[in-house]
């Protein structure tokens, strides 16, 4: 049998299953060890609506505060474009939707190929901007460690390899597809151990922020 095909079958078969198990178990563990710490009941009578504002803040915090963008345009722009591009490429690409339908029975319309590809390209450019801001900008540099570069690299690899595989740009297409799936496996595996956790835990942190401020009737 063709070795590229064998690798591909392994990457999307056993390797993917293991990666997914680590991903799911790891996230569960991290959320459990977070939530079990609990939170004391606040005895101060509420002025606002803590729960309502907590829930609202999960969404509203996606919009930046006016006046702040100009201080860190690269981080804001890079951050938005990367997130939007990544999710567009992941969730609007027809073959991905087919996979999800087979696995979960859920499905939705795909976007046209040109849109998905532009989104992918933009996300890669955004990642490059984010990389440079980590290298050049003193604030970002002070906060950046090995993990930040690793996570950036592992999040951009599925985009690049997917683009190459889908367009048969170079190499053996089957091999490229195998590498693409392997990059996804790697992303799933590191997820629970790194700041990639934010893509789940932000729901909690934003909620708490909104609820704490909301109790006081203050903005969040």
């Amino acid at each position: 049998m063709n070795p590229a095909f064998t690798l591909f079958m392994w990457a999307r078969g056993p390797a993917f299953d293991v990666a997914l198990a680590i991903f799911a178990a790891g996230i569960t563990l991290r959320l459990v060890e977070m939530v079990v710490l609990g939170r004391k009941t606040d005895l101060a009578p509420a002025k606002g609506h803590p729960i309502r504002q907590g829930l609202a803040t999960i969404f509203t915090r996606s919009i930046p505060r006016p006046g702040l963008v100009r201080f860190a345009p690269g981080t804001y722009l890079g951050g938005y474009v990367f997130h939007l591009g990544f999710f567009a490429a992941f969730l609007l690409f027809a073959p991905h939707i087919a996979l999800i339908r087979d696995a979960l029975g859920l499905s939705w319309p795909a976007a046209n190929r040109a849109i998905v590809e532009s989104a992918t390209a933009l996300a890669v450019v955004a990642a490059i901007i984010l990389f440079f801001s980590r290298v050049m900008d003193p604030v970002r540099r002070a906060l950046t460690g090995f993990e930040d570069y690793l996570v950036l690299l592992l999040s951009v690899l599925p985009l690049v390899t997917g683009y190459v595989a889908a367009n048969k740009l170079f190499g053996n297409p089957e091999m490229m597809l195998a590498v693409h799936v392997l990059s996804v496996d790697a992303l799933l595996i590191v997820f629970p151990f790194t700041k990639l956790m934010h893509s789940v835990s932000f729901v909690f942190s934003r909620y708490y922020n909104g609820a704490i401020q909301g109790r006081k009737g203050a903005e969040s």
Partner: protein, 423 residues
Amino acid sequence: MTASLERGLNALREQIDAPVASFFTSCVHCGLCAEACVFYRETEDPRYIPIRKLDPMRRLWRREFTLFGRIGAMLGLVRPVTDADLGEWETLVYDSCTLCGRCTLVCPVGNDITLMIRKMREGMSAAGHTPKELIGAAVRHVETNSLMGNLAPALRAQVKRSVAETGIDIGFDQPGVDYMVILSAQETMDYPEILSSMARIFKKAGISWTIASDGFEATNVGVQIGSRDIARILVARVVEAAERLGVKGVVSPECGHAYQALRWEGPNLMGRAFNFEVVHIVELLDRLRAEGKLPTKGMESRRVTFHDPCQINRRGGIDREPRRLMALVASDFVETDDAGAMNWCCGGGGGVGANERATKLRLTAFKRKKAQLEKVNPDKLITMCAYCHHTIEEAMEEYHMEIEVQGLTDFVATYLDDEPAGA
């Protein structure tokens, strides 16, 4: 109680709860919190990145509250927190943070960094890494009746002066009245005009009030140091006085952290809800306005702007009230850039103003306020915190700025229509 690393770490452990864990888990190292922080903005020194001010606490959380961190610790990958670390962090946690809350409003993942710095201070103080001026103030307040020492004689004198000036009696320790009023030491010493202003406004509105001779001080250095024990002792004096007198409510004065200490931390420090209401003086004035009990005549016609104290607006939720009052008495009211919930801190809150070695940094931070003010170029600045008032006045002197500063209650009282009808 001797301070030690072990006590410090224990105090920190006690502070780590689900929100804190979610905040540390969520941080993506984007640095946007720095862009919002007045200390970073005015120095552009990455040491002042808000989330970095919490590094020892974050490490403690990783090592002890996460499985992967515990494994990492066993493998020597996550360093333990040492006394030297805490010592090194003292200036970050106390000198370069006013607990202003701006970082908390901009963090894209919603981290309440300010709350965590407040919590971190619990560990710092238990480990003995607290600025000496704050400790001195705490000792004075615990041993006497205010952070400035025994203020009872001064307060009696100010009350006497006010009664002579307005002809309105102010009684001490009167049970069963509507409100018990407390004052910040800054007001008692530097801005005592507040007494006459309240006396006139309350008389006009038909409100009865009193001052407790054993619970008149509103400030609470315990919440600034980060010592729940001290904070509880101080807040208990006010709570017990209010309960003894059986008042309907306690009026929290124009002081940011005092409002925070009594209104939001108070019941949690005491471990029980109060059987009286805590109302900020500006909330109360706005209520009176809505009920038509705050008649005014005339208006300030010079250009006036407003400074939102962090603990009262951003961290306290009082935003519309002062603006409705300003509309009542100022005809040329201008807002500064970023006014309201995103207003820039004066630089003196959270204990920074009392901390001698932070003076230079505080004055540097004030440049942001200065720029904000210069842009609207007001004749007068109104605020609702006596400590902001004091900090701004002092810094303006340093920068040779000439803008009159006044407390909101006093400003409103200037235009109170309390002439007897027909006079």
